[in-house]
Symmetry: C2
Subunit: 432 residues, 2 copies
């Protein structure tokens, strides 16, 4: 595709986005149910398209986990349809009054939520992600340009047909959701900073950084999860073993799996042998620093290991002398995603929760809970590892911004300066 | 300054920022008062430094308004000191629980506010801005790298001495605030995306865009204000004249002054002659489209005019046939800063407030009210014209982000999947 069509697509999305921002919640909810109907109706052709994608992936000898994520059959369709119905039941994230204040008599300020506008999202090869992302954008009144994984191209096209059929039928403005097809399309999209308000890239650190370097559009990166479990001196050892195993091995290929284990020297001699047995049972390779290797048999960990998101059955381990050393290690090598302290000492927990500079800081539970569904947000468009706008699992609220509305009765600055009226700054109830 | 020192400065700021994030509100407030004392104590040398800056600016024949903004004497010092004392009285923006939810029995999620971390701010030649920005960052627990205008260099150095003396004396970690000196320093700062969390450039659209194009760090732009006043068919004519004059002429050189006036055709023949007289009395040059020129004597407006922030005694005027045409014009040519509708028709007001895609949308009052002090935020680090994170006047709340804290009692994902406990998603009171 040449540059011109992408520019036109972005412009059409901006136009549709402005209309969508004023649409009623009833219309947006009806459209979500209409998408569910259209997916159900078009399911045979969606499944056929998916079979072609899967056959191609198998012919190209892609990995088994990737092919499993690519697969979209009756079961995943049902889950996607249930998700649409659940989303339609959630309250409207738009037009909420977050703040209200009487600035002066008859001069009232409201801060109300509104959509961000047009969002560009680049996501991986999981076709159900297309429906999840589109439906979150629709519910929050945002127009969206989407680029999915190459491997899922035919499935995504078939799903997109259903999404557009459903929303046009319900009366959502055309242009609100559009698929991009190539990397060149993405590069072109990054230049449309007058039409696109936010880019959400889901992928590796290097990919997210590439996007940030190449666009003047704000970027909300969902990048690597170099998540840590820190076992404090006062940890309950059997519980710490269970949580470490869950954080590392319950699902190896997810961003909220732990990659590094930090262990306080005071409990390392008891904890490390116990956890090593449990992790080896799950087939996890252990890579330790010198003090770890003095206590359990494992491969030496290098500087590179502390920086690595394995997404695999490997765990790096380091013994530390203090809570402070653990916090410093996490702030240096972590990816500001999710880090968990296992401790019975409330003061240590509070220090960890305050000083670890990550979106999600956990105490005495698994890093695997860093998830939009678990958090109760329904779903997520990503786990934001940056610090601006939204952090952690990003659901409907993260897809909204706000605007200030000021209602007056003829007030001017000249009159204020002349003392004809004065500022009251009286905080009001946010119910209008 | 070479690249290395900027890198070291950013690293030192990150270290100081982490400590500052855990500092008590009492410490931060004491530090604000300690800055006020230090400015009072060092005032003679600050005023001497300012006299040298002003003498240099006069020798270089800088404009009178610029020299007036550059001036820092006893009166501005008193205002700055009052500002510091007022800021110390505001509530702590940190550690506020925004959201609390019981995810499952004994598994409790809190979303609490925390500082952004390290902020890089480039601001114009107004020395009082240095104190305002630094103090807002300090109160919100952020470390800051600052680059002020070249013209105010000596004054800024003297003020910074006072700021650092005050905060070090109070016990704030060294490195929390540092001054940059050259444009090369700024270019180098833009590369420190592993240490700096946010850049706030205050300046022209072109300058803000240059920063966005040249950094992987998130940017919160305070750029141009191409603000509109739209006079609706149903406007109260005398009030509309007063508000238009105030929006344009009460202060010509500020970003919240109006640059374009849109007038509904139904009232143009009555309103335009009246406003023309009032604006000409204030020395404002009028530039109109064809229909405006048919009603009042004025210079022809070109396409360029609709895009221009004059910051001067010039106003462009266009007659529109409908509210929709006015909204479309504003969304096309405006800078998403502040736009005001003057109307007696509530439905028209609501349509304008919803569909105009700007941070601040006003009804029946002056665009000049778009200001952190007027809004009741004490002060502002800028007026954010982007849509991500913060919009409009950006005070203490805009300088914070949040983190999710999850407190458990040994819960694992494996146990959840095995049905050993279940999600409750019970919303909790945000008081802990």
């Amino acid at each position: 595709m040449t540059a011109e069509p992408i520019r036109s697509m972005a412009f059409a999305a901006r136009q549709a986005g402005i209309l969508l921002s004023a649409s009623s919640i009833d219309l947006r909810n009806a459209a979500l149910l209409s998408i569910a109907d259209a997916i159900r109706r078009r399911l045979p052709e969606i499944i056929e398209a998916n079979e072609r994608d899967v056959a191609k992936a198998e012919a190209e000898h892609l990995s088994a986990p990737l092919i499993s994520r690519l697969h979209f059959g009756e079961q995943k369709a049902s889950r996607v349809i249930d998700g649409l119905k659940a989303l339609a039941l959630l309250p409207d994230p738009l037009n909420r009054v977050q703040y209200a204040s009487e600035l002066a008599e008859g001069l009232t300020l409201y801060r109300t939520t509104c959509p961000i506008g047009v969002i560009g999202i680049v996501f991986e090869s999981r076709p159900d992600a297309l429906v999840q992302i589109s439906s979150l954008c629709l519910k929050s009144g945002n127009a969206v340009l989407l680029k999915g994984g190459r491997e899922a191209m035919e499935t995504n096209e078939a799903l997109q047909q259903a999404i557009l059929e459903g929303t046009l039928h319900a009366g959502i403005p055309e242009g609100w959701s559009q698929l991009l097809h190539t990397r060149q399309d993405v590069d072109e999209m990054l230049k449309q900073d007058d039409c696109i308000d936010l880019i959400i890239p889901r992928g590796s650190n290097a990919f997210v950084h590439h996007i940030m370097q190449n666009s003047a559009i704000p970027v909300l990166g969902h990048s690597e999860g170099i998540c840590h479990v820190y076992v404090d001196a006062s940890a309950d050892i059997p519980e710490a073993v269970r949580i470490t195993v869950d954080s590392k091995a319950q699902n190896l290929s997810v961003c909220n799996a732990a990659e590094t284990l930090l262990v306080h020297a005071a409990c390392a001699d008891v904890f490390l042998p116990a956890v090593a047995v449990a992790l080896r049972e799950r087939g996890v390779e252990l890579r330790g620093d010198k003090r770890t290797r003095a206590l359990i048999d494992c491969v030496p960990a290098t500087e590179e290991d502390w920086h690595t998101e394995y997404l695999d059955a490997i765990l790096s381990i380091k013994v530390v002398d203090s809570l402070e050393e653990a916090i410093t290690h996490i702030n240096k090598y972590g990816s500001r995603h999710t880090d968990s302290i296992l401790s019975q000492d409330d003061a240590a927990i509070e220090q960890f929760m305050t000083l670890v500079d990550s979106a999600d800081v956990f105490a005495n539970c698994s890093t695997r809970f860093s998830d939009g569904f678990i958090f109760g947000f329904g779903a997520e468009v990503g786990i934001a590892t940056g610090k601006i706008h939204a952090r952690g699992p990003m659901g409907l609220e993260g897809l909204c911004t706000y605007k200030y509305k000021l209602y007056g009765h003829g007030q001017t600055m000249a009159d204020l300066n002349a003392g004809k009226f004065s500022l009251t700054h009286r905080k009001l109830d946010t119910e209008r």
